[in-house]
Amino acid sequence: MAATTEAKTRSLKTWQGINQALTEEMERDPSVVLVGEDVGCPGGPYGVTRGLLDRYGSKRVRDTPISEQVLVGLGVGAGAVGLRPVVEIMFFDFAMIAMDQIVNQAAKFRYFSGQSMPLTIRTMCGAGGPNGAQHSQNFEAWFCAVPGLKVIMPSNARDAKGLLKAAIRDDDPVLFIETLGLLPTRREVPVDEDFVLPIGVAETRREGTDVTVVAVGRLVDRALEAAEALAAEGVSVEVIDPRTLSPLDTETIVESVRRTGRLVVAQEATAPCSIGAELVALAAERCLPQLKAAPIRVASPFINVPTPVPLAEARAPKATDVAAAVRTVMEPA
């Protein structure tokens, strides 16, 4: 699926991009249904699904009990008999209850049956609100270790819209990870209803020659901010947003790291066994001869997310952390 004309755009908040993607895809295809806690009448705890119930009725937009196993099961069962379900798991942390259905059922359906499982699971991660250690976790890496699943994690309104549309149209189970802290941020989004972005393709958000920064989710804007600041210091930073975490667009990343010889990865997740670990490993495996400095992971410290927002923000990596890491990799060996 290629992106279509992007001439006409509109500034949207990320939540609006998601809302438009859902609306347009439900409009386009009557087999698209949406199930989740509070997705209907209230329009979601953060308003993301606002208006859908009124338009598409309480069968296609269905408020569910607090039953996360059944939630994903609704998607698997409905996907198996002809619908194209979108399941919302309110917070990523609650996906812990539905892991069997995601990992052992949805992801393995095609392997067992040979048939498509056109299921999209939407959920929301990150420490963007006063929610604490059980409502703020970043588990994206885990799902990148599950064969049969695609994992998308957009960093802005445009990608959220274009990739959610792609996920819904896709014939495979897709975990679509929204980031709480990004819901109110804006980007220009093409108005074309067939604006669909390709799954598995990274976006180079800023070109540069000295250092490659691969940033994920909430850290993309921060990396861009850091790059801007560093430009003033004469450091040319390339910022890549993988957008799809599985399958990962390794070629774009490897090409960039080989060119710049330096890698910083930036993520809200903690470091161990994360996407950042995977990216640094990738660089070591495939770019060693070109590496001019040891890669650095900019990540949250390996501790729980505290509830008070100032503390949660203090824990999350900032633009200045990204900039500091870039300066470190720029130091003469």
Binding site: R62, V70, G73, V81, Q105, Y111, S113
Partner: protein, 300 residues
């Protein structure tokens, strides 16, 4: 039933000959449940099966040859021989999967039934599960939503009285057939070794479901003659108990209704079918490593 019985006896023989590369959970003795329950189902109805699911698969219309091929690890199997007994899913005939995870079919069943409701089909979903699965959280979630949304879903608990290596008394408090009561869901216990009784109870439940009257909880009491898996000697139960249940053989009971001639003809046709299935499976190549990577994603 005879087909199911002979199918499993045959695959059990193959197991002893070292031809079955995966686990084998036999349902010999329990056939009346699957056969009775699926009797009135359409191709467009769905079922969810378990780790002990050969009888469900056959009752819903799986080809004995391809199923045998799957169990024998052959390329002609439904999952190319990679999945074996616990991973057979044939959506085209409404078989949404046997399952290696106890209870996992229950949430999926709610999804199939929900889809039928959305699509305004008058199809139904029948969800089979063992009494052991009533201990899972998936079971609790599923009955609530099924009752709440009045889903076209029939719960069929195949209570064979053992849960792996322990008796059901270690697993189940109270009575399973009553589990739906407090949700406003009707329930019934039937003799799971009486194919007619099972068929009647499920037919009533299916009719209700097709009419939009919601789910039913059925508990079919039965017994597995063999161990939990092929190879399990089932030392945890008394011979006397096994013998008593063998005398309640559902096949013998249903046969009583047939004339000798009809029974003989049935036997012969089943033997032919089984022989053909086995030959089909054995002729199919043993699945090799080159088949492992396919069918993970539709598009990459």
């Amino acid at each position: 039933m005879r087909l199911s019985r002979r199918f499993e006896e045959t695959v059990h023989d193959q197991f002893h000959e070292g031809q079955v590369p995966g686990p084998l959970h036999l349902s010999i003795g329990q056939e009346a449940v699957a056969i009775g329950a699926c009797e009135g189902l359409r191709v467009s109805d769905a079922i969810l099966s378990t780790h002990r699911g050969h009888h469900h698969c056959l009752a819903k219309g799986a080809s004995p040859g391809r199923l045998m091929a799957e169990l024998l690890g052959r390329t002609a199997g439904y999952s190319r021989g990679r999945g074996g007994s616990m991973h057979v899913a044939i959506p085209s005939i409404g078989l949404l999967g046997t399952n290696g995870i106890v209870g996992a079919g229950l949430p999926i069943a709610t999804g199939a039934a929900y889809a039928m409701q959305v699509q305004e089909r008058d199809d139904v979903c029948v969800c089979f599960f063992g009494e052991g699965a009533t201990g899972t959280g998936a079971f609790g979630e599923a009955i609530n939503i099924a009752a709440l949304w009045q889903l076209p879903l029939v719960f069929v608990c195949e209570n064979n009285q053992y849960v792996e290596l322990t008796p059901q008394e270690l697993h189940v408090a109270g009575e399973i057939w009553r589990r739906g009561e407090s949700f406003g869901m009707p329930g019934e216990r039937v003799d799971g070794n009486d194919v007619g009784a099972v068929a009647d109870a499920v037919a009533t439940a299916v009719a209700r479901a097709r009419d939009g009257e919601g789910p039913t909880m059925i508990e079919a009491l039965t017994y597995r003659w063999f161990g939990h898996y092929a190879g399990d000697q089932a030392a945890y139960r008394e011979d006397e108990e096994v013998q008593r249940w063998r005398t309640l053989d559902p096949l013998v009971r249903s046969r009583a209704a047939l004339s000798d001639a009809d029974a003989g003809a049935l036997d012969a046709s089943v033997e032919d079918e089984i022989a053909a299935a086995l030959a089909f499976a054995l002729e199919s190549p043993i699945t090799g490593p080159d088949a492992l990577a396919v069918d993970h994603l539709a598009t990459v």
